[in-house]
Assembly symmetry: C2
Homo-oligomer: 217 residues x 2
DNA sequence: ATAGAACCGTACCGTACGGTACTGCAATGT
DNA sequence: ACATTGCAGTACCGTACGGTACGGTTCTAT
């Protein structure tokens, strides 16, 4: 956890970005998560990261702390793709949504995301270990937070007409559908790059068709 | 595993329905799954089911066998709701879909289903233990198998126009959306009975609006 | 009535892993 | 040069759990 008890800035805001060495460790954890799921041991982390278990425990307190730090680090890496809001044309709006959907699907079907979500799901059962909450906040909730302003702009430009909540739920369903749960359950048949493109395009078309202002409703 | 090595009908087809005593055991496992997730021990099962660990191992081989038997038993309990296909009106078709969606959402948000899916998701990571596959087959795949003939009838009656695959994906997305993954990640805010009704109705309306023959497309 | 199987309860074993303690080394600051 | 500090590496400890063994009891079949 935060900068190794340097005399200067302890407590403070916490949540500092991890040092290079720490990132090595967290990266190892991420790899092991992908390879072995939740089953990896602290010893295996120490071995592969060439550090001592004692160091792991000094930095992260316990296993759960290490997992939490890893999850938060990974979450912090997903950049917030800001949308330029000057262009209000339907085609630009549609393109933005399509790119977002495509990127979303790509992330969700990546090995790291699958491993992370599996971990969070299994830890959400056992109380303790706020991993589920963290992934929830950095997954669905974060996507919601990113999408709502986009929808709002679309609404302002009279391109769509729908309440924010419903817009998110609808968009989520159309884009993700059964892709994520199937991936989590180990379905080998993951969508290809092309299929993701098609899914994204189709989902956006359907989204606009359902709550767009152009024709129906 | 199957009838305790009675001299008569061993091997045969396997997969016999469990005896009353076995169902007691499996029911205990289900309860423990809901309470403690994957963390429960074989000893706790034996204790609560008032049986010996030795019996558990004789019947199910190992822990994974017990989990598998439990999952399969639970899956076998979900009845296949057959649709009467004489009525081909749009309203009857819509009502059938709505009831299906509503029932689906209710099941997915139940404690047992959440616990079961959590278990399957976490075991899908660790190789071994075909639990993920089993839940996949009895979850999404089974739903698909049940829905496809319904869609086909709707298509025959010229109520909808869409390929079966796409119809399922679309229907799944519109109905489930982010409900399941949020539940799996431990989101406390589960939809109420009323919200489920609304979700189901709205999803069916959207589904028919998107691929129905009445107006657009 | 009696043999045999199933089974409960419990004690037991091996192992794996989370967490701690200790030793030595290497870097840093004075 | 020397003390201090952080860390790698390893040995160690306690515990929890999967799996097995065994004694005693109940049920079943002949």
């Amino acid at each position: 956890m935060n900068e190794h008890l340097t005399i200067s800035d302890n407590d403070a805001i916490a949540e500092q970005s991890p040092s290079a060495r720490e990132q090595e460790v967290l990266s190892v954890v991420l790899d092991l998560m992908v390879e072995e799921g939740d089953g990896f041991s602290m010893a295996s982390v120490a071995r592969r990261a060439s550090c001592s278990k004692e160091t792991l425990y000094r930095w992260y307190g316990d296993r759960d702390g290490l997992l939490t730090a890893t999850v938060q680090w990974q979450a912090s890496k997903v950049a917030m793709p800001i949308l330029d809001d000057t262009n209000l044309t339907l085609s630009a709006f549609s393109r933005t949504l399509r790119d977002f959907a495509s990127s979303w699907l790509t992330v969700l079907t990546s090995d790291v995301s699958i491993a992370l979500n599996r971990l969070a799901v299994s830890h959400a059962g056992n109380n303790k270990s706020s991993l589920g909450r963290i992934v929830l906040e950095n997954g669905p909730y974060a996507m919601r937070t990113r999408l709502l302003p986009i929808f709002l702009k679309g609404q302002k430009a009279e391109l769509i007409d729908v309440r924010g909540d419903e817009a998110f739920r609808l968009f989520f369903g159309l884009v993700i559908a059964d892709v994520q749960i199937r991936a989590l359950l180990g379905d080998e048949k993951k969508p290809t790059r092309n299929e993701i493109q098609e899914f994204a395009q189709k989902a956006v078309d359907q989204f606009l068709s359902l709550c767009g202002k152009q024709q129906n409703q």
